[in-house]
């Protein structure tokens, strides 16, 4: 894997112009998570009506991989049924990113996933383990 393969135009674009970045006034549920080793923070906010994800936004700071991943996740989940987040996993996020991710950068790629899953499970009143 080379740096050029990892930092493709599309990833850099998602980093510099993140999608669904911001905050909503009355989220149905929100969850904030961070990577203690690097200080990256992502908060996911969801507006849910009749189990449908009407709106989803994220807020935070992080590297290109974590911001691109959060952008892609929000785009993917907008409009979906909240139950679908249960089956939304690491493999699906890596597929969305579509770039090689080294082991040490996995936690960057998956921070937003952790946050969105926790938000969903909080909403569904279930435990994440």
């Amino acid at each position: 894997m080379t740096a050029e393969e990892m930092y493709q135009e599309i990833i850099l674009d998602y980093y510099r112009n993140p999608k669904n970045f911001g905050t909503m006034q009355h989220p149905t549920v929100a969850f904030r998570d961070s990577n203690p080793s690097c200080g990256d923070i992502i908060e996911m906010q969801l507006e849910i009506k009749d189990e449908s994800i009407r709106d989803i936004k994220f807020l935070g700071k992080g590297c290109a991989i974590s911001i691109a991943s959060a952008s892609l996740i929000t785009e993917e989940l907008k409009g979906k049924n909240i139950q679908e987040i249960k089956n939304f996993n690491k493999e699906k996020v890596l597929k969305l990113l579509a770039i090689p991710i080294s082991g040490i950068r996995l936690k960057c790629a998956l921070l937003a996933l952790k946050a969105v899953k926790m938000a969903a499970y909080n909403y569904l009143g279930e435990n994440n383990d």
Binding site: A3, C38, C63, A64
Partner: protein, 404 residues
């Protein structure tokens, strides 16, 4: 000193990373180890290994002598007495020991604990938690826009008679060398005991505890060519004598009955359980190695490298350097345009170059710099200008990758 001459002593510098020669610019996190230290540790396990301070057999006698000789070397290295040298796991443990003993006995409700805004988490969290437990207040000497301590405010805060003042000698993020002697003198004027975090100074410059006249000082062995798992707490004898033990158990006792225990003499009163024997002896070998080169030479070498690296970094337009760029040693924090430090570190790593990225265990300070993270390069005796040239080249390559 010539870094090129010492490089042959560091086996790891021969290895490759991503098929390129390793350039290690993360010595502020931990230093590499010379073969002399590695061999000393191996030799201990091969020829002397047993517990110390216990049995009467020959091995125990020899191991105890090696252990206590290392203590003497380390004491003399910072101009202390051996009984004032307490072995801990690392600097963090030394600071926790102080918070849980000296600090807890001294700091009561509404008292003030004084630290600075540029502390490593190790010299912040123990005091923050102590303040919470004792319902005391934690005050901070501010860091100026140039990355230095605001000395005027420092005096005003010391005037309020904090119960203790803990601060870092050299910032692990900005490389700022704080005027420790001046601050300690100021603290003395108001009878405030001082705790110096010397993790980033003892490995890189001459440090003399008598000259500084601090009450306590801590550092870690692994940042100064020694093994991990060994740190040092220096304390003035009168304090150590009056303090309660931190951990209790074997080796720190004089006499034990089912109901009562009396404490061992200094320094063993603070060394409960079997200590890291091989690590202490390894640290002794590291001190021998450093002294052979000379701490002044090491300081000069690093100051020269720091000036050189700053000059080269400044030539790259999109690089922002944090800190004063004066009275700075061995550490440079920077960012490349809008690129997150992790992404920069990933690209640089491809060239075999190890730099640090993140908040460097000083999250509040990095937040104060107004960024989520910084990249950091840090140097040591084995770093050369050629290493820095290669790092600069890699940063320029990163500019291309990130389309800057």
């Amino acid at each position: 000193m010539a870094a090129i001459d010492v490089r042959k002593d560091f086996p790891i510098l021969k290895r490759k990373v991503h098929e390129k020669k390793l350039i290690y610019l993360d010595s502020a996190a931990t230093s590499q180890k010379p073969i002399q230290v590695i061999n000393t540790i191996t030799d201990f396990y091969k020829n002397y290994n047993t517990n110390i301070h216990r049995a009467l057999h020959t091995l125990s006698d020899e191991a105890t002598t090696l252990y206590e000789t290392a203590r003497k070397k380390i004491a003399s290295f910072i101009n202390a007495n051996p009984e004032e040298i307490i072995f801990t796991k690392n600097a963090t443990e030394g600071l926790n020991l102080l918070a849980f003993t000296f600090g807890k006995d001294r700091v009561k409700e509404n008292d003030i604990i004084l630290v600075t805004e540029m502390e490593h988490h190790s010299n912040l969290v123990p005091w923050q938690q102590l303040a919470k437990q004792q319902k005391a207040k934690l005050s901070f000497i501010p860091v100026t826009a140039e990355g230095k301590l605001d000395l005027e405010t420092a005096e005003n805060l010391l005037k309020q008679k904090p119960k203790l003042f803990a601060f870092t000698h050299v910032s692990n993020v900005l490389g700022t060398i704080n005027p420790a002697k001046q601050l300690i003198e100021l603290a003395k004027k108001y009878n405030v005991p001082t705790i110096l975090d010397a993790s980033q100074s003892v490995p890189h410059m001459p440090v003399d505890v008598r000259d500084l006249d601090c009450d306590f000082l801590v550092f870690s062995g692994h940042k100064m060519l020694g093994p991990t798992g060994i740190g040092v707490l220096y304390g003035k004898k009168q304090h150590l004598q009056n303090m309660n033990p931190f951990l209790t158990g074997g080796d720190m006792i004089k006499e034990v009955s089912y109901t009562e225990t009396s404490w061992n003499d200094l320094p063993w009163k603070f060394e409960a359980g079997t200590p890291p024997i091989a690590e202490v002896i390894g640290l002794g070998a590291a001190v021998d190695y450093l002294q052979k080169i000379g701490m002044k030479s090491i300081q000069d070498h690093e100051q020269e490298l720091t000036a050189y690296a700053l000059e080269q970094l400044q030539k790259i337009k999109q690089v922002k350097i944090y800190g004063s760029q004066q009275e700075q040693i061995g550490v440079i924090a920077f960012n490349l345009a809008d690129i997150h430090a992790h992404d920069l570190a990933t690209v640089v790593d491809e060239e075999g170059i190890a730099i640090r990225s993140g908040h460097h265990c000083a999250q509040p300070l990095v937040e104060k710099l107004g960024v989520p993270a910084t990249a950091r390069m840090s140097f040591y005796i084995y770093t050369t200008k050629k290493d820095i040239d290669k790092a600069i080249k890699a940063i320029k390559k990163a500019k291309k990758v990130f389309k800057l």
